[in-house]
Symmetry: C2
Subunit: 308 residues, 2 copies
């Protein structure tokens, strides 16, 4: 039920982190790119193949120590429909290797449009009497600016398929406060009101660990707000971006967790997938570098929490 | 510059409307579906073909009277990567027929992720020394919850490629007020503050008609708010959803326009693409029905404004 699947993977690996698969072409080591371009040309076909080889190598290197991956849709959409085909294949490959997949799509639309997104990303698409599989993620990120109308269709499919969502509350970027920190309601903020909405939208869908199907995104780069949100959203599983490259530390992200290190997962993208850029080996060691970085991140965060 | 291209198409056709291409499978007349299923099977391949035939037929029927189409990405993503391939083809086909294309994607993400979306949807993707074309839309819709960080990368590509964006201010759905109408700032609302941000983000990019590259979405279903937003955002081109099936009337949407019927475009999706469902001819007449509905909508709205 709800986030139980993810929580149990985290407990099993004693690792509350997710590796963001945000592959810009320049993040792919030169030897992989060269091989793909030689086979397919210096074009979208070649780039898509290079990134897929890179993703598979990363998943192979991480799957027994990291519970989840979070592909960011933008880096696949940038490559056109071929990129989307490769995203489907990446999600399938991660599943084969036992990983939980959070598709970072930040969609937000209403009514039958939200249903279409939910079918495509979490559910199935009906073609006459046939049910067809779409992207097949376990969880997606959403933007709740349009209100419950944009979230409920996802929660409906999530209930049918035992899946979940994360809705943006307080994001990790420098300009997130521009709207989110504006004073709103009764001595409150826009992100605070969004937090209450997320708790309300998820109400009644708690699983055995006490979390609803409606998780929230709360950035590591604002530890004070993160701490407030953790207290304010006791039934909400948190996705915490902003650790590492963006400046969030293990000391900051500890506020995201509840008892026994539960209720949150911390993302790192560049810190893991670009770790090879810091070893001086031209990326020949990208798998080992990613694995080492993931272990270092896990150990760093687990200095402050004990998962059980 | 900026929205000049769209404004000029509107003036040329004396029609300030856009046809939403939101093709649920059941919106496609049975004879088209049957032909595609016979050729490709009752599966995603067949469904994608049926919807592409339908889209092309609609574009053929509308291109000399309606200036723009607005495909809603959700209905294509629902069909997986094949749907995205067909969306690319639909956009290309609409361009061949001279139509302006607004990709309704409501994306919202930050930094290099926003750059990736912007490259994919409005710009080009660099693969080593080759620039590759992505979805190739003229304009996209965005969600500004994450602040300027999520909008500026799009505005940068838009400036390079002479393209534009529409950012959600007040949406047309029943629950839009849940967050958007909450009191915020100094005796204001969340959507009001968003309106100010949109004017600010776009500042300095006015074209010859006075509109910046950063347009706004303002729903026809809340005419009072629409009127306020029009006054508050004098340099902002408005995309107005909610006419027709959602309940907005021509009397409501007239508030979106400035002098000479400028500065706004009104969307109808189901009202046009499903018009055949009301003629009792099983969809054999879907092109004529769509054309008649588009003309009726144009004439309805032009009772209140004079375009020049």
């Amino acid at each position: 039920m709800s986030f139980d699947v993810l929580q149990e993977k985290i407990i099993a690996l004693k690792n509350p982190t997710v590796a963001g698969l945000d592959p810009k072409p320049e993040y792919v080591p030169a030897h992989i790119r060269r091989a793909s371009y030689n086979e397919f040309g210096e074009n979208l076909v070649g780039a898509v193949d290079a990134i897929f080889q890179f993703n598979k190598g990363l998943i192979d290197a991480l799957c027994d120590i990291v519970p989840a991956v979070k592909p960011q849709s933008a880096y696949y959409e940038r490559l056109g429909w071929r990129g989307m085909k490769m995203l489907e294949a990446t999600i399938r490959y991660a599943h084969e290797k036992g990983m939980y997949v959070i598709a970072d799509i930040k969609r937000g639309d209403i009514g039958s449009t939200a249903e279409a997104y939910a079918d495509g990303w979490l559910g199935e698409t009906r073609v006459e009497d046939t049910l067809c599989r779409g992207f097949g993620a376990d969880c997606v990120t959403l933007n709740g600016y349009m209100g419950a109308d944009s979230v409920n269709p996802f929660l409906k499919v999530a209930a049918e398929k035992d899946k979940c969502v994360f809705i943006l509350a307080k994001t990790s970027n420098p300009g997130s406060g521009e709207l989110q920190n504006v004073s709103a309601g009764d001595n409150d903020t826009v992100y605070g009101l969004m937090a209450d909405l997320i708790e309300k939208w998820g109400a009644g869908t708690q699983g055995k660990y006490g979390y609803t199907r409606a998780g929230a995104v709360a950035g590591a780069t604002y530890p004070e707000e993160l701490q407030q949100l953790r207290a304010r959203m006791p039934h909400t599983f948190l996705l915490v971006p902003g650790y590492g490259a963006q400046g969030g530390t293990a000391e900051d992200v500890r506020y995201a967790f509840q008892d026994k290190g539960r209720g949150a997962i911390v993302n790192s993208s560049r810190g893991i997938i670009c770790a090879w850029q810091k070893t001086g080996k031209n990326g020949e060691d990208y798998q080992q570098a990613a694995r080492d970085a993931a272990i270092a991140m896990r150990d760093d965060i687990c200095r402050y929490i004990t998962i059980g």
